[in-house]
Symmetry: C2
Subunit: 468 residues, 2 copies
């Protein structure tokens, strides 16, 4: 599709969306510049170089760790190198969780080691670990529904499965077993909780991730085992034999430390005090190298900012790249950002944090009058395979940190949804390495984000307040 | 295709193959029974139950281990249950290799643990391990070509890549880095050898497998790292910085023990003293559970034998199911079988040991006069997606133990080639679990093997001696 046709089609669709009124629209010059940014993004080399260097020279970056700080120091210099302005680190205190050694094994009816990982925030088990019979549940709902004494004095095992979906809905439905499994197990007197990894793979790796406790209930250790191990436990359980499990788990909670956001900007012109925020999170879980979660997102946001800075035209609003600290285990970076910048007008908050797959859909969360603009932005990305949905187009979720800020501060959000079909094969595991990233897919992401951030910065209307 | 057409077509093709002579052919009754076995195989439940129970209740079965013995005791009872006769265990002495603890880490230019596994037969490293600079080679050929002193006093790292192929040719080309890497590294004065795992995956798992030493050269420790770790090493090496690596490796070699073959039969009638041998190997590497390597093959051979036993008609020749001991690290089971049965006529030796994928090709290794019969057997499997190649149809490799016996004893072989496209993602790793097996693919294998073994047992001609 040629540029002229594209503008015509977008204008037509925008007109249809608001019926008889004249729809707000981007200028032809701004759309033309967005197309140039889209083309520049498709040829981008910065994102791949960014994530490669981050993962190869720094590696995993647990929230509050030295590696997370090292990454911030590296990233702030890299953002300045990439031509962004006001590059800075904004630290904030946090309490970190530190993984120690852990192991688990089946004791009966057969003896075999299990591949496991402690869940983030789990308390340590007593020295020597815990050995007990297993109370097996097919899913979290079955545990919640259990009014018997079966879990008491046992290790609860939740065999919650995660459905593979493009949009992460399967993960959304399953993750409660990880986040709240220990609460419901403790409520029933269990000694510990083990879960099937929240993931879509069949690999012998365990998926970590955050869990939480409830005040007033005992805190019990929590861990995940690999899907093949969970399958074996299920098969053995189905034979009616007693399952017995032993595990050790060392960890430290509430370690006083700091995390930090890394921020850099393409300063705006007439609306410079309004912010168009694109982001990723710099922290990662400790097991892999934080490549797809979320080195890729940091790389994409940084390269998109760099593309705007390099393209010559200054934006009206300030485009701000933020690399969040501690997304994974408490949102400390995003919370402190909200506190610091709560009085600043945000035209858009957004985040790339769903792996390194291609973007297939745009959705907004903006004031109704701005919807035609967002639709026009989406239309510009149609040649890259990005759809504007018929329904729910103004119910977007712009990524975890951004979504939290959107709800808390009533800042409008834009979501560019990546294909997450394979994301939960790797999420929060040792497999989160560079090898999972296709450089061409990164370029498609950079193209989408550069064009989107640019148009948001040029928009003739405020995007907020969003509709919830 | 109807049965009558099938016989016609096969006969036609057979005629073509031997030109003007009348081709040997199976009787219509034998072909009809083969079709019934084919149908029975497609509905088989025994193979899946066999491999499930083997992997879930016994798990990994390293050659010479208690688990391998336990598996033999279990399997001999299971074969009798499945209706086979003369079920027995035939032990033989061997020297086992036992894995101990091992670890590796990059020390410079960045510090990070590597996912690694000792290679089978590796000597132990000295207590405390070895730390040295790395001499990096892109592949085994580059190491062999190196006439410099570069490897001396260093840890050689061979970045040999394995190409993904359906027939395993990629593995065949790459595995020399594993089997002979320590020889070539030691020849150049290296302290140890590390290799990229011989595998086609991008997962953070290491592939083990057998390596060997050469008399007269120092024995040095040998290990493999995961593909993502090898990629990182390659990327860091490409920066020109010095790589330094530390590893520990504990292992015991030459541990006196026994392994054993498990054998059971469907006794023949007029040619009962001739053997049609179908097989798998009961031992496995220790890291996974020996599901696709080679619980699946044992299950397929056992279920195929059971189908023949259950189908009512007795074969002319004796169909012998063999579950080999120690295929993985020295062929002790197959070697002892050859010694014991060398005087017995074998009509066919064959083995299922290439995972649990569907069979896509049949090839033989028989006397020229028997080729039309093998082609007719293949034709019967055409409806299951099995091809008879235009070239190389009499150059089949019937699986590792069977191929060794074929060459050593001049016994004819039949190969049913499984699709191994994904096999080397999992081969010799912790990922070798039941989760990789599709029950319907097992049934296709059972159907092919039951029909094939039956026809080999009924053949109007001896298949041997084979052509090499």
């Amino acid at each position: 599709m040629k540029r002229r046709d594209l503008i015509g089609a977008a204008a037509l669709m925008a007109c249809g969306a608001v019926r008889a009124q004249a729809a707000p629209a981007f200028s032809a010059e701004d759309l033309q510049h967005a197309e140039a940014l889209r083309a520049a993004g498709l040829a981008d080399k910065h994102a791949w170089a960014f994530v490669q260097e981050l993962c190869n020279t720094i590696g995993p970056r647990p929230a509050g760790s030295d590696n997370e700080k090292k990454a911030a120091t590296w990233a702030v210099a890299r953002l300045a190198q990439l031509g962004l302005s006001n590059a800075r680190i904004e630290p904030t205190p946090m309490k970190a969780w530190l993984r120690g050694a852990a192991s688990a094994k089946l004791v009966a009816p057969v003896a075999e080691p299990l591949v496991m990982a402690a869940l983030g925030n789990s308390i340590a088990a007593p020295p020597g670990g815990i050995e007990a019979d297993v109370a097996w549940y097919p899913d979290f709902a079955a545990l919640k529904a259990d009014t018997s004494e079966r879990a008491k004095g046992r290790i609860v095992f939740i065999d919650q499965k995660t459905e593979r979906t493009r949009d992460g809905a399967g993960y959304g439905a399953a993750v409660v077993a990880r986040s709240q499994g220990a609460i419901e197990a403790a409520r029933r007197g269990a000694l510990a909780v083990g879960i099937r990894s929240i993931g879509t793979d069949i690999e012998r790796i365990a998926h970590t991730g955050a869990m939480r406790y409830e005040l007033g209930l005992p805190r019990i250790p929590a861990f995940a085992v690999s899907a093949p191990d969970a399958n074996r436990i299920a098969a053995l359980n189905a034979t009616g034999r007693t399952l017995r499990l032993q595990f050790t788990l060392d960890a430290q909670s509430d370690v006083e430390t700091t995390t930090q956001n890394v921020i850099a900007e393409v300063p705006g012109t007439d609306l410079a005090d309004e912010i168009v925020l694109i982001s990723g999170h710099l922290d990662s879980w400790d097991l892999g190298r934080g490549a797809i979660d979320d080195g890729a997102g940091c790389a994409i946001a940084s390269a998109a900012g760099a593309a705007i800075a390099a393209a010559g035209r200054k934006p009206r609003r300030t485009v701000r790249v933020v690399l969040w600290g501690n997304e994974e285990n408490g949102f400390h970076g995003a919370l402190s950002y909200g506190d610091r910048y709560k009085a600043v007008v945000h035209q858009m908050v957004s985040e790339s944090d769903f792996g390194a797959g291609r973007i297939w859909q745009m959705r907004g969360r903006v004031q109704p009058a701005a919807v035609p603009l967002v639709q026009q932005m989406a239309q510009l990305l149609a040649p890259l395979g990005v759809a504007w949905p018929e329904q729910g187009y103004n119910e977007g979720g712009p990524g975890p940190d951004a979504a939290m800020l959107m709800r808390r501060h009533k800042w409008p959000g834009i979501a560019l949804n990546q294909d997450g079909t394979a994301y939960f094969d790797v999420h929060h595991t040792v497999h989160d390495t560079l090898d999972r990233i296709e450089p061409a897919a990164l370029q498609q992401n950079v193209a989408c984000w550069a064009a989107t951030a640019w148009l948001a910065a040029q928009a003739p209307l405020p995007f907020g307040p969003p509709v919830f």
